[in-house]
Symmetry: C2
Subunit: 304 residues, 2 copies
């Protein structure tokens, strides 16, 4: 039995399940939602869930995967590997999430970002099943990006922070953006709060022909174009609350086509159902992507 945690700033989703093979998503046996409070309080409830599940089912955990909010220290050589680092949630700053879980449950624990988990899940069972080069954007309260290259989650000295890309601005658009660090970076232009600040109403309340959408789609198209030029992934997945506005997809695809200007002429980047319509896509696993990614992290931890 594997354990999975999707650790978010407002809730921890915890689950146990079985993994039968690479062609079938994990079968979730039970799950619970734990509100995120102080670290010790939250962790106590998390541990309680896994201990009760093991007892109830008379089955030990084989490994645990965690897809977590961040930023995280993901350098395996670092003394603080698996800890949460400079989060604005002060009580969680420096909290050694991986180490504490390992010490308490005595199983292998694999941790990565929530969005890397979602990328991994989508590339294993979802919209990019079977692909080894995948980029996943989540566009919601913020903009997060997870990257898979050759089947491996990409980190260097840190994990991607591509939500802060300085996109080229749409000519004539002088909205200053809302990122406290950069103003008009991708997140400062295309996140839910940015759309609300621009339009004066939340994204969900805007009609598809509201003029506030054009600069949002353009900023996302800039970021996807940059990803295509640097990594040429097999698939780009756009998820998160903002992307539930499905009318954004055709605008972003057309933006990417125009911005590439015919330079990288792979069939996948041509307009149409076998090209960009299948290349820039919504997630296949819906809201469970992070949790399923956590199971996949657990499976890989055991396989190592």
């Amino acid at each position: 039995m594997f354990g999975a945690i999707e650790a978010g700033g407002t809730k921890f989703v915890v689950a146990v399940g079985h993994i039968n093979g690479p062609d079938e998503p994990p079968r979730i046996i039970d799950r619970a939602v734990i509100p995120t409070r102080e670290p010790e309080e939250t962790l106590a409830d998390v541990l309680d869930f896994f201990r009760r599940q093991s007892e109830k089912r008379q089955e030990a955990l084989a490994a645990l995967g965690v897809a977590s909010f961040g930023p995280l220290d993901l350098d395996p050589e670092s003394p603080t590997y698996g800890a949460i680092t400079t989060t604005p949630k002060l009580a969680w700053r420096g909290f050694p999430l991986k180490k504490r879980l390992e010490a308490a449950l005595t199983v292998p624990v694999a941790i990565d970002t929530d969005v890397a988990g979602a990328a991994l899940a989508e590339a294993t069972y979802g919209a990019a099943a079977g692909e080894r080069d995948v980029v996943y954007f989540t566009v919601g309260t913020g903009v997060g990006v997870g990257v898979l290259s050759g089947g491996r989650i990409v980190h260097g000295i840190g994990h991607p922070e591509f939500g802060h890309l300085r996109v080229r601005r749409l000519p004539g658009d002088d909205f200053p953006g809302i990122c406290p660090y950069h103003g008009d970076c991708l997140e400062g232009l295309a996140s839910g709060p940015a759309i609300r600040a621009r339009a004066g109403r939340p994204a969900e309340a805007l009609s598809p022909d509201d003029p506030a959408w054009a600069p949002v789609a353009d900023a996302l198209a800039e970021a996807v174009t940059a990803v295509v030029l640097l990594l040429a992934p097999a698939k780009v997945i756009l998820g998160g609350g903002v992307m539930k506005q499905r009318h954004l997809f055709p605008c972003i695809r057309e933006g990417v086509r125009a911005k590439l200007g015919g330079y990288v002429a792979y069939p996948a980047l041509m307009p149409g159902p076998e090209g960009l319509d299948a290349y820039i896509v919504p997630p296949g696993l819906g809201d469970d992507a992070g949790l399923i990614g956590a199971f996949e992290l657990a499976r890989r931890a055991l396989a190592r």
Copy 2:
């Protein structure tokens, strides 16, 4: 004995050498420069070099590595794997370089882009020796980018074309750029011909305080910032003819610092000798990086 080819648009550099281990660059026994003409003519001279070397030294080639101009088809599943694709050099378009070399020399042949070869060489023996996450820019007639992630050369459905990144423009700069596809993409602003078009004189003739440099450094800083935000490599290497202007380095480092705006606060990204001065660096292997990368490709081909 290993063979190596650095295949360029004006010349092919061919060499044979021995590789003693990972801590020591390949020992080059002999090399030659062959001018690039029509494919058949050029290939005949290349094959002649390797055959003569084998005879003369009574030693067979174990494997051959090729770091080539492109674009290349690098999809191992493609029927045209290892061929040159849409190059403006019409006679070379579609030329199956890898297959022809394999058929003629009957040794394993590994091929990748010239700039991926340079990245690999620098990460094995050069300015980023021992690092597994490295991005190499070559800034010359064009701008090429090679990416190593987890020690592996990154390709997705194609190889990086990040020279065509649509960088955010320096405010007030209205130079239209010279890229035939995009005008003011990175290559359209920062390549040698772009600098010449802007300044009216070649880059080598400009003094370090010429005002033409500021937008060049800024465009390169935009691209390096994007790379840091997406991949967070352990090292960024800037090579090629334009980067022989060493005064560009401090400007690019300062640009990256300012553009990150304190958001990703790793020690490597702080100003100073242990931070950005050691993070954004010139190549360590000089003009031999491509050729040494070709040897490393050959070594890896044999190890597989």
